[in-house]
């Protein structure tokens, strides 16, 4: 009987140990907070060191976790566990950002779109600050520059020649432009004075602007016309040619 009780205690002890093991594992691997969520599949070209359990931010607020990551046909298929109260529209922008400049802290950033429909598979970009990639690109750039120097043509020499040529051309151009420029300046000054003359109160100005003058000229013209007609009809009235 005593042995039976002891065996029971030992059984309870070991079972509780196993339960605690499972509990600790679920806690540490971040699976404890994954209730009340649904899965969203996002394909990335590059996840930049994203890990399972990293947060998913919607408008900067933590609304889920990365549940699973695996390689699927040259892409990374990631499963995000998103809270049920969030709907991700089909045209949402999904990218991977880093929390800090240093270290591998990444998170998935979701900016929800305006579409009414959701998508079955989303496509994300591996944005964020990719220092390593940047470094690699810088390295290759340095290599290219080095090759320029080592090759047949020297980049420095070309640049010097180009600058010299450009300076010479610029000088010639400046000289060519100098003469006409002065003339144009004179012209412009004269044009200015002419404008002033025309618009001012001087004789020419009045001549141009005055309606009175126009009217008088018209009347005179008419009178002249009738006079000419009269002359044509009765030439004797005006013209008396007397010989002797």
């Amino acid at each position: 009987m005593v042995k039976q009780i002891k065996a029971t205690f030992v059984g309870i002890f070991i079972i509780v140990g196993i339960i605690l093991f499972v509990l600790l594992y679920t806690w540490f691997s971040g699976r404890l907070g994954l209730r009340n969520t649904y899965d969203v599949v996002v394909m990335f070209d590059d996840v930049l060191g994203l890990r399972i359990g990293d947060p998913v931010m919607v408008y900067g607020m933590e609304k889920g976790k990365v549940k699973d990551l695996k390689i699927d046909q040259n892409k990374i298929k990631s499963v995000l566990a998103i809270n049920r109260d969030i709907v991700i529209p089909g045209d949402s922008k999904i990218s991977i950002k880093s929390i800090s400049m240093l270290g591998a802290d990444r998170y998935v950033k979701i900016v929800p779109g305006s579409s009414d429909k959701t998508a079955s598979v989303y496509y994300g970009t591996g944005g964020g600050l990719d220092l390593e990639g940047f470094g690699a690109q810088l390295d290759s750039l340095m290599l290219v520059i080095k090759n320029f120097k080592l090759g047949d043509f020297d980049l420095n020499k070309i640049a010097t020649k180009l600058t010299r040529d450009m300076n010479r051309n610029l000088k010639i151009l400046t000289e060519a432009v100098q003469g006409p420029a002065e003339k144009i300046e004179h012209l412009s000054v004269r044009l200015d004075s002419l404008t002033a003359l025309l618009s001012g109160d001087g004789t020419v100005g009045k001549l141009i602007k005055s309606d009175e003058l126009y009217e008088e000229v018209r009347q005179t013209n008419q009178a002249l016309k009738s006079l000419i007609e009269d002359i044509k009809e009765n030439p004797q009235k005006y013209i008396n040619i007397k010989v002797f």
């Binding site: 030992v10 070991i14 605690l20 806690w27 540490f28 691997s29 359990g53």
Partner: protein, 245 residues
């Protein structure tokens, strides 16, 4: 007895105890007895030790780090420290102090009072009858005790951080989760398996080699604990090099 002959003798004893025909049906009751006395018997002290380990490491980590790093790093520090080192090591040291000494004293007394000789006369293998159940019992109990200790330490640390250090539970937990790797967790448990073998074997060995009277029995208990403690730390280093190195 010089160091080399001690190591040789110890190894012989170890293989003699484990690599024998296991009669599970007849040994089962004795293994159960040992799991009860080592596992459940050590549980209260392990829980107390673990609780204060968690509290102290949280307080110290906060004292050292707060203001210089994000607060979730406290969770990371305490979590990894407990999982990798403090949980397995402190549990193993406590169990070695509590159980290796009692094993050595028990078996030593049996040796002094010629009970082991009596077993041999009855054609009962004393290694199978006495040392196998103890080693296997420790092997079963210690990882379970380690899990208990880790859980209690982390829970106490998290609760203390939440209520007294202004580090919310979710932040503490985030620190643990974010930098968690399975290797830390399983590495700690693998360590405790090695420790359990060392504890059981040294406790039984120093009991078996007692010659003389009561004074020698006491000395055997001391040797058992000292040897187990030293071997635990040496093994800790070796396992750390292999798993985390």
């Amino acid at each position: 007895m010089n160091l080399f002959s001690l190591i040789g003798d110890f190894s012989t004893f170890f293989f003699r105890s484990l690599f024998i025909p296991w009669k599970i049906r007849t040994s089962k009751g004795r293994i159960l007895e040992q799991v009860y006395s080592i596992g459940i018997g050590s549980l209260p002290i392990i829980i107390i030790i673990a609780a204060f380990t968690g509290l102290v490491s949280t307080v110290q980590a906060t004292y050292q780090m707060i203001g210089t790093v994000p607060r979730y790093i406290i969770g990371t520090t305490v979590g990894r420290m407990v999982l990798i080192e403090l949980g397995p090591i402190l549990t193993a040291l406590m169990v070695s102090g509590r159980c290796a000494s009692s094993m050595a004293a028990e078996i030593g007394t049996m040796r002094v009072t010629e009970q082991i000789d009596a077993l041999e006369i009855m054609a009962i293998d004393p290694y199978r009858f006495l040392s196998l159940p103890r080693i296997v019992g420790t092997f079963i109990s210690l990882p379970v005790l380690t899990i208990f200790a880790e859980f209690v330490a982390l829970a106490c640390g998290a609760v203390y951080a939440h209520y007294f250090l202004n580090i919310p539970f979710s932040v503490f937990s985030y620190g643990i989760i974010h930098f968690f790797s399975m290797r830390d967790f399983l590495g700690g448990l693998v360590k405790s398996l090695f420790f359990s073998i060392v504890i059981g074997a040294s406790g039984c060995y120093f009991g078996f080699i007692v010659k003389g009277g009561a004074k020698e029995v006491g000395r055997a208990a001391t040797y058992a604990v000292v040897t187990a403690s030293i071997l635990i730390l040496v093994l800790d280093f070796l396992v750390a090099v292999v798993i985390f190195g």
